[in-house]
Symmetry: D3
Subunit: 247 residues, 6 copies
């Protein structure tokens, strides 16, 4: 079984970390093909970054259809481009948020998602509601820029732990979901420290992808996810750089 | 990996059918231990049957903890006793309804669950709402007694197909969930006939069980599913037969 | 009018306290027949205890149908076995939680349920949502084991009062619902102390039972609560003691 | 116990019919004081009629506080002025819709309210949602002007029965709520004909009023229903006739 | 374009303040006809005041239909009598709460309404839910009597600011809605101080009224807002003073 | 006042039709700058087309910030890229769906949105729910490809009328919302034919944009819509044509 995991953040080190996490839980026969999108922002923090990450994501998914894969994972907790990806797929496509909250739902009746920046909090809360977990899950932001998670000296883990502790004491959380692909390497340790299930979206998505392939199930082509109608597309984006702002 | 699947319906032929379905999707290293509850109704049709099936279910789960299993599945679409089972488990416990609707949610934005009798329809609708899918899934009954599914000559399949066709034409269903453990052998054929994903709860639960075990995740012991407090239980039920009514 | 009140907790002193509360509000012509279940846990704290309390409850309800009663009350705030009980009843059956929150709804637009242990909080919150009061009522736990309510020296009342005070100051509660059958004797005093309506489930259920009988209304036998279908039940539970854990 | 029932429809024959229904279910010691509002529309059909019926209703409630009553009922299914009435009450105040849907909730998991005119359908649906029954109850209109219910030759009963039959066949209704005070005399017969619980709001409200008085519970004076603040009111309405339109 | 703005609070200075705010945002060709109701309470604080303010409001709307207006605004944040007003209108009718929360919804995903007294908080929360913003907006009370907003020395602004600061720090509010017509003059200053959108209902309603008139859209006369049926109204209210309580 | 209206469908004739509709309702001093996106699909039908239309939309919004505009409108009923657009805006940004359903909410308690293809139905239903109108509005598809609305001979209007008629007879719709920018020229005629309000999103958005600018209100920069963080973007999309499929 071949699972294509596309990181819509154009930062290769983040892809690599996710690939390690994915391979750590993959079944013996599963190959993880981890690719970094070639177009878009270096990290996805909020609606704007997310929207501009989608073309690069879709291009990877389309280009690699020739080579073939049995399922695809979008390696960003915002489930960036998930609906669009499903329309072009003839295989299952998994997002991290949807996979993680479904997984947490089997383990706990109430749980908390801890994400990075405040600007992503409502975005993820809207996803959680759409997936039906709005009545069971709270979303918290821990004020960590995404790429600080790549840097051990950044103090990011301290902030994350502080927010998890609030979730346990104030929300009555029975489990924790880590709300960023960049946190994937922290799940096991945090689970041991806090003694509650800690769900990582990358790992959860790998197992859901394997499950759907084994079950012979794929994205419905009736209704919402029907294949795109044939039609001309126009224009060119000579450089995505113009859409960003150098710091 | 050992998965204990307990059928709370005390009908061995039904267990056997579910075991076949479970083994058909299980990963190479997964052993399915299929057991039939020794106490309770021969089939679970509505709230009364379900409530009286729980002690037998819990007894199987407890007794086999000595031998050991890595996850458990309750082989009834009503998710009979699921909450109680989770409190005594130190492993993941999966219900068919919860597993199936979570699985369908990855494939379709709107779907329909087709179950057996009208008396089970609202019961399952309440589950679907609690699991967060109330806004995405409709539940239909097809007027089939559970054990007629064991009998090919019963006309049950015709009734089921008629209801699936209504789901597609009237509900805008993008996928179908089969709402009874006894329908597990029909999923693949129905998927081919109708060209939409058809999700079977037994198979879905096996893959979710494998996923959780692989991920090192287990039922939260904080809050709702905390281990039962030590306390005396009293009484005896010299015969469950007194609770049924011979036809 | 004869109202059968079954306590699914197998502790007779608790039944006696509930009987006193029931008789205190019963109409002149109403006889309260208070019985303690003979099978199951001595107190119901969480899902496991609750599930194993149901057979004993149903047995009492069935056995006494010969003698006759006009309505039944299940004397546990978790509404243990309520749905199953309704299917075998040809009379109205009331739960404490459903009765209490419906009653509170006539008196206040927003209110708080204060229950015993954290493990019961989400369980009751799920009931409150299912009964339609999720948008109007909050549920709080006060960290009191059920049987400490039988013991005046336990400090339980202090904990309960502290939680009621939080409900008033933090939740904007306009009324309080006592979320355990064992609190039934405290309602009047707490109402006087805090000057807001304090609703006790036992008393509320008695009046709802009387109301339904007077109105000539009984459980619908169409759909969810249709009478159980005739079918064999098998097995025996030689001792419930095996299901508990001596402390 | 004295229950004041005010009919905010200024049609005495309708009050009389409601009084008969109320007395038929009242407990031996309960006195029903049935009064017809002296100001407002002869029947309440929609938002405009309802709004102009409130001053007359409130005046009756205030004027009779001197004489004294233990609970009050507003005899209109739109629960006209219920919130305002509760703020001036030091006793429980019941509306027909709130009482009826709470009562139906003890008998059935899903039910249908059948009201008179289409213009009242959404108004009542909004009430049903606010009372928390939006997920359990559907509202249907049967195209009957309110006062045709006073006239046996009007064909109103035929229309009502047709709509009940649709509720049973299309909505999966397990019980029926009659959505107009003018239907109060039909409940018993319809219950016999259809074999499902048929709930009348007048009778339900009487029993809820008796229940609350017996329980020593009254409207919360904290928050929403706090007593009106003292302040001047100005103006006069020399004739309500100007607000109507002679047919 | 002529917009009739009726203040259902019978305090002329409050009407004048709202008129100034309305004219400040009105388009060049828009005439604001600001009138104070001649019947009812001097300020609307809770359900009772609101209910008794409606006849005076409806009378103004009816009497001025002869002269003509293109849209109407009800100048109270409780949307007092809005549904009734729409049934007699052949023009659009706007409430402040509905206009303000719809406006805020274009600017922010989550926001907080800050109103006056606790007794109005749940009333407004119910409106916010009915308008569909319950999942996006929180309502807070700042403990300010309505007419203290007319008095600069009252300390009201300090209380209001304290509550806005809590909304920003505790609710994650992205915008603020001022929940009382009497706060209309404060919006611009507060917006500058806090750097988030601050929406005033009077101004919002004026622009919505202009928008609907320009679009050729008016209240639907099908269903809920159908014109009142012709029928006699009876009685007289010789003095509203009897309904108030001199302080 | 200058309103920039960007059509994310890359079909100029559709932009022109929307511009005519926008100018027809714009206030005297309002200039409508209508531009067609230069990148993406010729029509937006479903999730895939929509996702690939966003970069072109954002580019227009960014490039024209130099010249200046006071508000922006995204001329597609799917509210394509609305959240992302708001993060880069220092002015209000309006979508057609959000503007239209908010407008309809002032006119009717229940209404129906009639869109084009089935694949857009759930997408729009999800928007309607997120905007809070899920309990008040139903969404229907009329099986019309978007560009057939540009062709009078296509029979599209007949299909649209058939679906509106179903909305009136089956949904109890009190108003109709046209669910595609390409239907903008039909609103007035349909309103006359059916005698209920018919809301067009283009016209509604223009008036909401004018309203917000007049009110001095703009997108909140706190939380969800905070300005994008400065960061590098990489890659280039040498041709969008590769993303489409020539018919």
């Amino acid at each position: 079984m071949r699972i294509l995991m596309v990181n819509p953040n154009t930062t290769a080190s983040m892809t690599e970390k996710a690939a390690v996490a994915a391979r750590a839980v993959a079944a013996p026969g599963t190959e993880i093909i981890a690719v970094t999108s070639r177009m878009g922002p270096i990290s996805i923090e909020g609606h704007y970054d997310g929207a501009l990450a989608i073309p690069g994501l879709l291009m990877e998914l389309k280009e690699r259809q020739g080579v073939g894969y049995d399922a695809a994972i979008i390696a960003c907790f915002d489930d960036t481009g998930l609906d669009a990806a499903r329309t072009i797929a003839d295989v299952p496509v998994l997002g991290l948020c949807e996979s993680a909250v479904a997984t947490a739902g089997f383990l706990a009746q109430r749980f908390t998602v801890v994400t990075t920046l405040e600007r992503s909090r409502v975005l993820i809360d809207n996803l959680v509601r759409r997936y039906g977990m709005g009545g069971r899950a709270k979303v918290r932001a821990s004020d960590i820029p995404v790429l600080e998670l790549e840097n051990e000296a950044s103090g990011a883990i301290g902030k994350l732990r502080a927010e998890i502790e609030k979730a346990l004491s104030e929300d009555g959380a029975e489990a924790i979901v880590l709300g960023c692909a960049g946190m994937t390497d922290l799940a096991r340790d945090l689970q041991e420290i806090y003694g509650v299930p800690v769900v990582d979206g990358v790992a959860a998505a790998v197992k859901q992808a394997e499950a759907l392939v084994s079950l012979g199930l794929s994205t419905s082509k009736r209704g919402s996810y029907a294949s795109p109608l044939p039609k001309p597309f126009t224009g060119a984006m000579s450089s995505f750089a113009a859409m960003g702002t150098a710091s």
